[in-house]
């Protein structure tokens, strides 16, 4: 017996113990289908076009920049000796970091039984996939001769050459490609029941055919749900070590080398925390306007925003701790090169970059300690953008500031990006938003079946779920009957 049950009735929950509902206004499963699927049906709203047109223009600029760079060479970028890695790798790490929130929300929060994740996981997973696509462009093109990219994969060829697996760059190839594949599969498997919802509502033959094809003939059979839920649990279980390993391995690209400022053991956890921090920033940036424009305030509630602000605060503080620990170790190590690298960050020619990073990543998120600020969507929105500005500068600090003054002072130079660098980066935003807008227009951006599952209507032990007072059997007695 878990709770005292009055004779013939449900246990009475005291007012102060009542939980804030996950879906506001006691919405029914039918309402959830109609509202979420409704975003993909009917007339395209004007704001969608207003967002889509600039996005596709930017995406076209990206394409033009890639063609120009590939046909001319990496000399069109600002990279020079000794700053041989710059915006290419900054943007790669930045985008892949953003991608981490999606898998964190879908996998780790699933294992932790954080049921609020259902309101935001689909959009966050889509964000992950598109961010990893944007990320993947940079390492592929930074090699210069992109037609040799297949050298990265262990493909048997007439050359009889194999990749060199002792290099962290090879580990990265495996980590990022596995991450993309597993994230895509996870997202798709989550979509299958919702594609069946779309199929069953489809008004035109073509929609019925396409949604029907991709929903794989899903019927909602409980025998299927049983296997499906197990597969979903396992995917969450394997995605958790995956998401932690991917940014760890990205950090090893730096940490395994001997450059002062890169060669530190704190990098893997510090990169993972930063990735989650920036990913939650991007989720907030995307969902704060979308919940309003798509009228999803009852599904993506203020509680969701509140929790995500708290995660941002927590991860931002972990990142701040890592920054301070880096400084301490640089001093404590006694290595003059380490010390110089960090003093050069703080008061070298790029000190403005270092202090932008510190301000946006460490000081700014501290405002989320206050409930009043977490409830003000304008402030949260602006902060969420600044978080990603700060995280971009973190990678700038790590890559450019560590490289631009190497061991030989005659090499020192001040790095500046070229217009091609800047336009390629802006172009990836175009690609990202184009894909995201297409996704939210054609696929359910909220996990319909999962959100239904966390309402009281889905629980056979509640009045909303159909339980009758006199029928209620305490759980331990139910075991005996079954």
């Amino acid at each position: 017996m878990s709770a005292p049950i009055p004779a013939g009735g449900l246990p009475v929950v005291p007012k102060e113990l009542e939980r804030i509902p996950l879906v506001n206004n006691n919405r029914t499963p039918g309402w959830i289908s109609d509202r979420v699927a409704g975003i993909c049906e009917g007339k395209t709203p004007a704001w969608w076009w207003a967002a889509f047109v600039p996005s596709i223009i930017l995406a076209t600029i990206l394409l033009a920049m890639l063609v120009y760079q590939i046909s001319t060479g990496v000399g069109v970028w600002g990279n020079h000796h000794p700053t041989m890695w710059a915006w290419d790798i900054i943007n790669f790490v930045w985008w892949i970091g953003i991608g981490h929130a999606g898998t964190l929300i879908s996998a780790i929060l699933f294992l932790l039984r954080q049921r609020w994740r259902t309101g935001v996981n689909r959009a966050a997973e889509a964000m992950t996939i598109f961010a990893v696509m944007c990320a993947g462009i940079f390492p592929a093109i930074h090699v210069g001769r992109v037609w040799f990219d297949w050298f990265l994969f262990p493909i048997p060829t007439a050359n009889s050459l194999w990749p060199q697996f002792k290099s962290p760059l090879m580990w990265d190839v495996f980590a990022v490609s596995t991450y993309f594949t597993v994230s895509l599969l996870f997202w798709y498997i989550g979509l299958v029941p919702d594609l069946a919802v779309m199929r069953d509502r489809a008004k035109t033959k073509i929609r019925q055919f396409l949604y029907g094809l991709f929903s794989l003939g899903w019927t909602g059979s409980n025998r299927h749900w049983s296997n499906y839920e197990k597969a979903y649990l396992i995917l969450a279980g394997v995605s958790t070590p995956l998401v932690l390993s991917v940014h760890s391995i990205v950090s090893l690209d730096f940490a395994v080398s001997q450059v002062p400022g890169w060669h530190t053991t704190i990098f893997p956890p510090y990169f993972v925390a930063g990735a989650i921090f920036s990913g939650f920033g991007m989720v907030l940036t995307l969902l704060i306007p979308l919940r309003r424009w798509c009228h999803l305030e009852d599904v993506i509630t203020m509680r969701h925003i509140d929790i995500m602000c708290k995660v941002t605060l927590a991860t931002g503080s972990i990142v701040g701790y890592a920054y301070i620990m880096e400084l301490f170790i640089a001093w404590y190590s006694g290595s003059p090169y380490e010390r110089f690298a960090f003093l050069n960050r703080i008061k070298g020619p790029y000190a403005w970059g270092y202090w932008t990073m510190m301000g946006c990543n460490v000081i700014l998120p501290q405002v989320f300690w206050f409930r009043k600020i977490r409830e003000n969507l304008w402030i949260v929105f602006v902060c969420s953008i600044l978080v990603n500005v700060g995280m971009w500068f973190e990678r700038f600090v790590i890559i450019v500031i560590s490289l631009h003054r190497d061991f030989l002072p005659s090499n020192w130079a001040y790095y500046l990006p070229s217009p091609v660098d800047i336009m390629t980066y802006l172009g990836t935003f175009g690609l990202f938003f184009t894909l995201f807008l297409l996704f939210m227009r054609f696929l359910p951006m909220i996990a319909i079946s999962e959100v239904k599952g966390v309402t009281p209507f889905a629980d056979p032990h509640t009045v909303e779920g159909g339980a009758k007072h006199e029928e209620r059997i305490p759980d331990d007695e139910r075991e005996v009957i079954a």
């Binding site: 597993v182 029941p193 909602g220 059979s221 396992i234 070590p241 239904k452 056979p460």
Partner: protein
């Protein structure tokens, strides 16, 4: 709707998960084999109400993971220490530590393939056609209704008795589904 069409089964509609779950308990206790409950989301407790065993997807995933790790380690050992040896910074030709990160990623990749492939195999998906998907009313199974379907192929199936059982379970709307 001609007389020659075969009947796939009998379909009872419920408006709440509790209704469908109690019906499932009755159908299970009556000893039916070829039957199912269709819900818009997984209803917790339904597996027990239907008498289903733990899903076997885990085995597929496990085999996938073992395959992935073994493949990674063997591949790297063979490529870097047997087929094309090259000294890198005086390191050993093969070291399990250097080979671990790619093998780890392959473990995850293959166990994900195993989980998804196993789920689709056990569910016999994808399938392009299902008798229930032709039924107009059944479209609500992905919306907000709960259906219990007993197939005619079940040895215990009897049009009158089975209908009575489902009525007694509380369904207000029962119909026959064509093949």
């Amino acid at each position: 709707m001609n007389g020659t069409s075969k009947i796939h089964g009998i379909m009872a509609e419920f408006t709440t998960p509790a209704g469908a779950m109690h019906a499932a308990e009755k159908v299970r206790d009556a000893g039916f084999r070829k039957w199912d409950v269709f819900t818009p989301f997984p209803v917790h407790g339904m597996d027990k109400a239907m008498g289903l065993k733990n899903s076997r997807v885990g085995w597929f995933s496990f085999i996938g993971g073992v395959t992935g790790y073994t493949t990674g380690m063997l591949m790297i050992w063979w490529m870097n220490a047997v087929d094309y040896t090259i000294v890198i910074g005086g390191k050993p030709m093969f070291s399990p530590f250097g080979a671990f990160p790619p093998s780890y990623e392959l473990t995850i990749l293959f166990s994900a393939f195993g989980a998804i492939g196993g789920m689709l195999f056990l569910n016999r998906l994808p399938r392009l056609h299902h008798p229930l998907l032709k039924n107009k009313r059944f479209a609500l199974a992905t919306h907000d209704r709960y259906f219990v379907v007993i197939e005619t192929a079940d040895p215990k199936y009897n049009e009158v008795e089975t209908k009575k059982l489902l009525e007694a379970a509380g369904s207000k709307r029962i119909e026959l589904v064509e093949e």
